[in-house]
């Protein structure tokens, strides 16, 4: 495979742009918006952004592979999952960049530790009590403010800088994935198992009659709308963090249709809704969507995938230099895999975070290396993610 290494990072574009007179880094970036969407559970990058033309892909993924006829083709190798139609439109219009074979520095396979590293901005779980985005909020003493669209403030936003949070006031509905896990957990308690089954059946009926909340599981919807309102308010926060679960697809994850497809559709609709809510502000917005790790290349015994290493991430928004897939693609041959099972990481997620903070918020390299992502001198900001302003 001679052509498997593709490197389309924006370094060359940036070199071009940097020479142009309109590229003024000194402009006031206080109106820049940033949204970080954390997908908890480990999104399967090989389904979200299938390397459909990679011969090993169809073979290794079998019934979970997204067929070449189904994918929304990004280029001759990669496509988007068919559920990501809005994001595909953004890609077409240059508002979405796709990162692949990307991972945090974490190399074990615990959700908890993996998310901890994703959020604390170092390479060691539990090493910080604050998160990289909180440190980024506070780095330049601007009046930029941040909000967590959840009941608590996730680690990535926790720290010395003051941060608010907002969540719908009623009890949040338990998502499908949690309910499915509970059904399994109750298998030794027939009484509770029966009660749960009855209650879910009743809810289904209520939903069909229009008397209930029929978009069960899509908790991103109302939260995204709220995020849009907060961020578009003139004096509102400029940074928002959202989180959504249900990505831990160990069983029956499906392919073009199925459990994972539903999650991806919610995400896709969420990003589209955010764009709609933000209106003109979308032009000054960058949305980064990331997860703690990818999933195994091979299908497991329950038509799902297990915890893996590298996966994909998305950078969307009107301020994004998109329409590109950024990947130093390692391939899926058996010797290409990490630990002989996972997609090999070739890009540190922190590069992308650093690139966004540097170009969108004017964070300096020193701030990024020492303060926001301590000890990450070796990890260079990914350049050219952000569109140069006129």
């Amino acid at each position: 495979m001679l052509d498997r290494r593709r490197f389309l990072a924006g370094a060359t574009q940036l070199a071009l742009l940097a020479g142009l007179p309109g590229f003024a880094r000194s402009q006031d970036r206080l109106d820049s918006r940033f949204v970080f969407v954390v997908l908890r559970g480990g999104m399967d990058g090989l389904s979200a952004v299938p390397p459909y033309a990679e011969p090993q892909y169809q073979r290794l993924r079998g019934q979970l592979a997204i067929g070449a006829d189904d994918v929304l083709k990004l280029d001759g190798t990669f496509g988007l999952h068919p559920a990501l139609s809005n994001m595909y439109a953004m890609y077409e219009s240059g508002e979405l960049a796709v990162l692949h074979a990307v991972a945090t520095p974490y190399r074990e396979r615990s959700h908890f530790d993996g998310q901890n590293v994703l959020e604390n901005g170092t390479d060691v779980p539990g090493s910080r009590r604050d998160g990289w985005l909180n440190r980024a909020v506070g780095y330049d003493e601007t009046s930029r403010r941040a909000i967590a669209l959840s009941q608590n403030i996730p680690l990535v936003l926790r720290g010395d800088s003051s941060v608010t949070s907002w969540a719908p006031s009623r009890l949040p509905e338990a998502d499908d994935d949690t309910l499915a896990r509970l059904a399994d957990l109750y298998s030794n308690d027939p009484h509770l198992a029966g009660r749960l089954e009855e209650a879910l059946a009743a809810r289904e009926v209520a939903g069909e009659m229009g008397g209930g909340r029929n978009s069960r599981g899509n908790q991103l919807g109302p939260v995204i709308s709220a995020a849009g309102r907060f961020l578009s308010a003139p004096d509102g926060p400029r940074i928002a963090v959202l989180e959504t679960g249900g990505w831990d697809t160990h069983a029956n994850q499906g392919a073009a249709q199925g459990v994972l497809a539903t999650r991806l559709r919610f995400l896709d609709q969420g990003i589209a809704a955010l764009k709609r809510e933000l209106g003109d502000v979308w032009q000054e917005t960058v949305v980064v969507v990331a997860t703690e790790f990818g999933r195994t290349v091979a299908v497991n015994g329950t038509r799902g995938t297990d915890h893996g290493t590298a996966g994909c991430a998305f950078v969307a928004g009107g301020a994004v230099q998109g329409g590109r897939i950024i990947a130093d693609w390692p391939g899926l041959g058996s010797r290409d895999l990490h630990d002989e099972r996972d997609l090999q990481p070739t890009l540190d997620l922190r590069s992308a975070f650093k690139g966004v903070l540097s170009d969108h918020f004017d964070a300096t390299r020193e701030e990024l290396d020492r303060h926001i992502f301590p000890g990450s001198d070796e990890v260079a900001p990914l350049e050219g993610l952000i569109r140069a302003s006129a």
Binding site: R40, F112, Q151, P172, R195, L200
Partner: protein, 461 residues
């Protein structure tokens, strides 16, 4: 590794383990429980206004409202009405929040559970307007000081507490031949008995519904306690100590009376106290209380042998509750089925706070949750109190709401603990491998905590 007895002590006898509690108990589970019964309960003085102060303020606001009732000024009328309504609401909310704050942090959770148990046994309900602002005070003043003493002391404190008098209308019960009734009759007004308190004392507080009393006993007992009342009134001629329990001799039915075959000579206030002392000593009372305690601590259908044993202990010790608890703790039955009881919504809520060493910092949300699950604090809706069996609390929708609460709490505290370790810390050997696996494989700490709090072993005690 914690013992199963420590897990049972903390979760069944206590209010749900806090992290570290099981290690604390170690192998001294019985001592840990018994030590909690010693000394007095510091929470019995809340440091704020007592029930007498509250009743006085309630009466003042009521008078103020009534004074402007026919006022033409709408605004003044509305303002007085609003002030009157808000007072009870605010008091209620504060007292309910205090109750769960104490429970969440208590170092003596067995004793605190007993407080809740006896408050429920002697239930008053905040949905009656005259006691809405008194429910927590009743618990602090009448229940707390007496849960580990002799039952008769608890019984006397309860039946002479203004909240109980008002809840069951005894201030309105007038002996037909009393001075007050005769004076009223001369003015063409008829005053008479209200049997409410007398009936509930016999049926719900002491003998039990099948305890062997007759309607005549109820009526006679009502006569015995005529005059048991609350001082102060909206009538300004009243000079009694406002808000306190008072005996109004002018309302008391004079004459000797016979109850359950025993004759009581006319003795004013003491006459009723003598009847209560005999009721507390009655075998039916022993059986009734033993059954309720065994149901609360052991099983919805408690073993008959255990009930007999507790009942005998009660009789042999002249109703010493501490001895009954000791018999319970020393019985094998209490330690046999580790998860026999399904938590009530209150139990469930409190144990979620304790699991994280946290406090109810959003009272509104907490009260809403209990209301959604059908257990709004202090509102059992009848003097019978809340039911103490699983069948009443295990509806499917209620289960979903618990899961939603678990999810909300899980999200809130997801950073503070590793769900698998926390499960071991609070459930000990009751944490099944099945649940530990599910919790540890959750996709996020928040989901792991949700699964832990929704697991069968956490929902039971």
């Amino acid at each position: 590794m914690a013992t199963i007895q420590a897990a049972i002590a903390a979760n069944r006898f206590g209010l749900g383990a806090r992290p570290g509690e099981l290690e604390n108990i170690g192998s001294d589970h019985a001592d840990w429980l018994l030590a909690q019964l010693e000394g007095h309960d510091p929470e019995s003085q809340s440091g704020t206004a007592g029930s007498a102060d509250i009743i006085r303020e309630f009466q003042r606001l009521l008078r103020a409202r009534n004074a402007v009732r026919r006022d033409d000024d709408n605004e003044r009328r509305e303002q007085a009405a609003q002030e009157f309504r808000n007072y009870s609401r605010t008091q209620y909310r504060e007292q309910a929040t205090r109750r769960y704050s104490i429970a969440a942090a208590s170092e003596r959770p067995f004793r605190e559970r007993l407080v809740h148990f006896w408050t429920n046994h002697f239930a008053i309900s905040a949905d009656k307007q005259s006691v809405t602002s008194l429910v927590g005070k009743f618990e602090d003043e009448a229940i707390r000081p007496h849960v580990a003493g002799r039952f008769v002391e608890l019984l006397l404190a309860v039946e002479q507490h203004p909240a109980m008098i008002l809840y069951l209308d005894n201030q309105a019960s007038i002996g037909p031949n009393s001075t007050a009734a005769r004076a009223a009759a001369r003015r063409g007004r008829e005053l008479g008995l209200n049997e409410n308190l007398a009936r509930e004392i016999l049926e719900l507080h002491t003998l039990g519904v099948d305890g062997g009393y007759t309607q005549e006993d109820v009526t006679t007992f009502a006569e015995v306690i005529t005059g048991w009342s609350v001082g102060g009134n909206i009538d300004r001629r009243d000079t009694s100590e406002a808000g306190e329990f008072v005996f109004r001799a002018i309302a008391h039915e004079p004459s000797a009376k016979t109850i359950l075959g025993k004759r009581y000579r006319e003795d004013g206030l003491r006459e009723g106290e003598a009847v209560l002392q005999d009721l507390a000593r009655h075998p039916s009372t022993a059986k009734f209380l033993a059954t309720k305690l065994a149901r609360h601590f052991v099983a919805d259908e408690p073993p008959a042998q255990l009930v007999d044993n507790l009942s005998a202990t009660y009789m042999n010790t002249d109703g010493d509750l501490g001895s009954v608890y000791l018999a319970l703790i020393e019985s094998d039955d209490a330690w046999r089925e580790p998860l026999a009881k399904y938590k009530t919504p209150e139990d469930y809520l409190v144990s979620t706070f304790r699991a994280f060493n946290s406090q109810p910092d959003d009272p509104e949300r907490m009260l809403n949750f209990l209301e959604l699950l059908g257990q709004r604090p202090y509102t059992p809706g009848s003097p019978a109190g809340w039911p103490d069996t699983m069948a009443h609390w295990d509806g499917g929708d209620a289960l979903i709401k618990r899961i939603e609460w678990a999810a909300a709490v899980g999200q809130q505290i997801s950073d503070r603990a590793r769900p698998g370790d926390l499960g071991d810390a609070i459930l000990g050997p009751n944490f099944s491998d099945h649940a530990r696996t599910a919790v540890s494989q959750a996709e996020s700490p928040a989901q792991g905590l949700t699964l832990l709090l929704a697991s069968p072993e956490f929902q039971r005690r």
